[in-house]
Amino acid sequence: MVTNAQENAVSPAVRARARRDRDEELLVWPDLVFIEFISAVLFTVTLTMLSIAINAPLLDRANPAVTPNPSKAPWYFLNLQELLLHMHPALAGVIVPTVALIALGAIPYFDQSNEGQGEWLSTPNAWKLTWIGSIVGTVVTLLLVLWDGSKHVVLWAMVTGNAESDWPKFLDWTRGARALQDNLPWPEALRNIPLGSKVLRTDLLGLPPIDLNVDIAAVMVEQLIPTGLMIGLPVLLSLVLHKTGIAQTRRDHMIAQFAGFIAVFVVLTLLGTAFRGQGMELLWPWEVKPPVS
């Protein structure tokens, strides 16, 4: 006899699976074990050939006194190193990856429906959403990186035949994110707000004083704008997809967001790997020279 408690211990989806179609089933040995064996052999052979053909890199002995230019992290962290060029290090190096991982882990708790499981892209608009997410993610990321690298000025100079330094003076603040901080007439009062000595009066509690002088311009460029874009743009994408009716369920929104995330991840990784030369300058891959010490 199956008690209620026993039944509740198994989730509905597993219970639904209880009636088995034996006709639809195969034996693991030989049908699955054979595939596993063949793919293991195939990959062993391929990897051995690859390892015979290409040697793992080994540079000079580590020397803390000689910094190669550029110094790059392993390729799967170059997306974060790319972010590092555009925002506050705490944001790029720790907060963004942490939030991204938590968001990834939360996907099944956000989209709890059981519909369309076990099928490739099963909602009616799934492919469309994947394409939209990937293309929007790619294009927007590229545009933002190019803008922050002042490449619009380079393009303008190329088209008009001017020098890059001829970029109109009154537009100097549009050169990139950093230009918003450097080339706008920020009032002195906003650039140095002594939070430490005026607001957080730790000295009154007998604690050492905190040295915290806030530069509003820097906070805006390093933290507020990047955070706003990283939250705002995905929200905007989902809003548009919702209003146009392309995304109807949570699964639909997840597909678009996930595709966008993968696109951004891939674009940033590629930019960091192949398009960043000395001084992390944005270059074409064929212009990127090996690091110099």
């Binding site: 989806a13 597993v14 699976r17 034996r22 639809e24 089933e25 195969l26 034996l27 693991v28 040995w29 030989p30 699955l32 074990v33 595939i35 793919s39 293991a40 990959f43 990897l47 051995t48 690859l50 390892s51 290409i54 040697n55 793992a56 080994l58 540079l59 000079d60 002995r61 580590a62 020397n63 803390p64 190669p68 110094s71 992290a73 392993p74 799967y76 974060l80 190193q81 506050h88 290090p89 705490a90 790029a92 190096g93 907060i95 990834l104 882990g105 996907i107 099944p108 429906s113 059981n114 519909e115 369309g116 499981q117 076990g118 099928e119 490739w120 892209l121 597909i255 996930f258 993968i262």
Partner: protein, 251 residues
């Protein structure tokens, strides 16, 4: 007991087969007979500690390559390959600042197949990062994280992080300029975290900059700490696939 039945041997072939697969020693190792009948084929999976990660039967859609592209299995395969080549590399490598780089040089020039071992380890490590990421994409686009597999998706995210950490800790070990500065750049990112950044960075590299302490910490994490952790989470991951009703398929 059907497994103990001795078929009547008539022809020479039968007698050779009998001698090979129905003898006392064979039976002491493999409890089932040779897997040429459905019964023995199920027994061989159910009674073998390695094969029993599998169920004895699976739905016919699951053996289609395009259902999974074998990505999870490949990640596990690469983990096993990395363990084997890694153990071999440990024979020749001492994690001290004085010896590490020279050991790698010696491994490449003096050890038979040493360079092949190192190359295999390196390319398998990059391959595992790629297959784990692609496995995650496959599971997402197939909606295979949906109930009742929510928690196994979370375990998968943990395994992704562990894979990246395994690769990252291994990156320092050759102690060349590439390793040293990549880890310096990487750990500086950790250090930039608000409040807890600097203490964490200090704990990770055992000092204010990458040096002998960082090397021994990364080595220990790389060869024992993280692999044990990853193996534990993998066990949970595989176990939950079985418990949650096998691979996802349309309801």
């Amino acid at each position: 007991m059907a497994t103990n039945e001795r078929p009547e041997a008539h022809s020479l072939g039968d007698r050779v087969y009998d001698a090979l697969f129905h003898n006392y020693v064979w039976r002491s190792i493999f409890r089932s007979g040779y897997p040429n009948t459905p019964r023995n084929q199920m027994l061989v999976v159910a009674t073998n500690v390695f094969l029993h990660l599998h169920p004895t039967r699976i739905h016919r859609t699951h053996v289609k390559i395009t259902h999974t592209y074998c990505l999870g299995g490949l990640s596990f395969f690469l983990f096993l390959g990395l363990t084997i080549t890694g153990v071999l590399l440990m024979f020749y490598y001492v994690p001290s600042v004085e010896r590490a780089y020279e050991d790698i040089l010696r491994l490449e020039t003096d050890v038979r197949f040493g360079i092949l071992m190192r190359n295999l380890h390196r390319w398998m490590a990059h391959g595992m990062v790629i297959t784990v990421l692609m496995h995650m994409m496959r599971v997402f686009y197939m909606g295979a994280y949906k109930p009742p597999r929510e928690f196994n998706w979370v375990v998968g995210v943990v395994l992704l992080v562990l894979t990246l950490l395994l690769s990252f800790t291994g990156y320092l070990l050759p102690w060349d300029q590439l390793a040293f500065w990549a880890i310096t750049v990487g750990t500086n990112m950790v250090g930039s975290a608000p409040i807890l950044g600097e203490p964490n960075r200090f704990a990770l590299i055992g000092g204010f900059e990458v040096g002998p302490n960082a090397l021994i910490r990364f080595y220990t994490l790389h060869v024992i700490g993280l692999p044990l952790l990853a193996a534990t989470f993998m066990a949970v991951h595989f176990w939950r696939i079985r418990r949650d009703g096998g691979l996802a398929r349309p309801l």
